[in-house]
Symmetry: none
Subunit: 226 residues, 2 copies
């Protein structure tokens, strides 16, 4: 995903925290000139402009961004409560606003709705580890860009392992966490699924799943800390 344009530079820590938490990449710019200099080839995904410290500069930037050949969309401004009346005369300069202090979830929800409105769709929930990518919304997986055709249990197992990279799981734990608590089956079932996963990962990447003898299986590299 292309990054969001943030203002000012450096951006408010609460804003950075909310965006990082929600997983949106971003770049900050303090001036319109910096914004165009830093702009990716594919353009900005959108902009979040904080207007509570320097309203003048903030709205000036909004105007500039809107007057481009390809007006920047979507554009969200952060304002303090006392600035709300100021928005009335600047309707055309933003697509949505958020009153600070705000919850991280509210900003995330507003961005999601904005992206949906402007037709760019929502950002898929991804699980990534090295060459592996799992798209949780579309139930699709890919290794090094090549799509993997996984069955349901294979996908669930890989998802669980990939969301806990480096950690070793016994077969019993995997059965209870992936298959379900009430599952009563042989532990060797896990082996077979691991085998098929490795086969589909191809010899090139099968080392992503390693066997820990007498214990269980691990995805990715071992972690010495924690």
């Amino acid at each position: 995903m292309e990054p969001l344009l943030l203002y000012p530079d450096p951006p408010p820590p609460v804003l950075v925290q909310a965006l990082d938490l929600a997983g949106y990449p971003w770049k900050a710019a303090g001036t319109a000139e910096a914004a165009s200099r830093l702009e990716p080839d594919e353009g900005w995904a959108g902009a979040v402009v904080s207007a509570d410290v320097d309203p003048e500069g903030a709205f000036a930037l909004c105007r500039t961004l809107r007057k481009r050949d390809l007006p920047l969309e979507p554009l969200l401004v952060l304002v303090a409560g006392h600035q709300l009346p100021d928005l009335e005369l600047r309707e055309d300069m933003f697509d949505d606003f958020c009153v600070s202090p705000f919850q991280d979830r509210e900003l995330e929800a507003r961005l999601k709705h904005l992206f949906w409105r402007t037709g760019q769709g929502t950002r898929p929930e991804l699980v990534e580890y090295g060459p592996l990518m799992l798209n949780l919304e579309t139930y699709q997986a890919a290794i090094a860009g090549r799509p993997l055709d996984l069955t349901y249990m294979e996908y669930e197992l890989l998802k669980f392992l990939a969301t806990h990279p480096g950690k070793v799981f016994t077969r019993e734990i995997l059965l209870s966490r992936v298959w379900g608590y009430e599952y009563y089956g042989g532990a060797r079932t896990v082996d077979v699924h691991i085998r098929r996963l490795r086969a589909k990962l191809s010899t090139e990447h099968e080392h992503l799943i390693s066997t820990v003898r007498s214990v269980g299986y691990r995805f990715g590299q071992s972690r010495w800390g924690l």
Copy 2:
């Protein structure tokens, strides 16, 4: 000015206070039936639906209001902070939202901005995905230029899927989002409608809807980028 439609009946006092303070006339309705009975000849100016006490009823009303011949616009929902994640799959049911508790000024600013926006006519009336085209105004659909003769439920199902391309939906989700919350029917109904949709898409394009075994159905291809 025409009144705003409020939900529930009686509406939350804080909402009434904010609207009265801002000078917006309003009428409250507790059901969709009451809403249509109380509707002025010139139609509602918009709606403010409070979802923090009775989310089910609130979103059911939103859905009804949007499915009218002339969808009610603009529609603003009030939600509690913990409900923010629930908004994700209901993007199309509202134009803006406000997190309660809210300042009177924020609600006023949001309504102003909404009225300005809807005056600009920003609502997309076309849904396109590859060879598929849906005209939301005329309830017409076409695949590769050839018109499709779809029934109501077929159209609604296809519309929902096509507005979330790539995403996989369980039958239960589809039943609740396309058929409605109060629907209590067998999940296999979805299968049959999917089948007829595929048939009407003709073998040439039936791959647009793919089955994800043990999960549900997906429209269109994966979205790795964006």
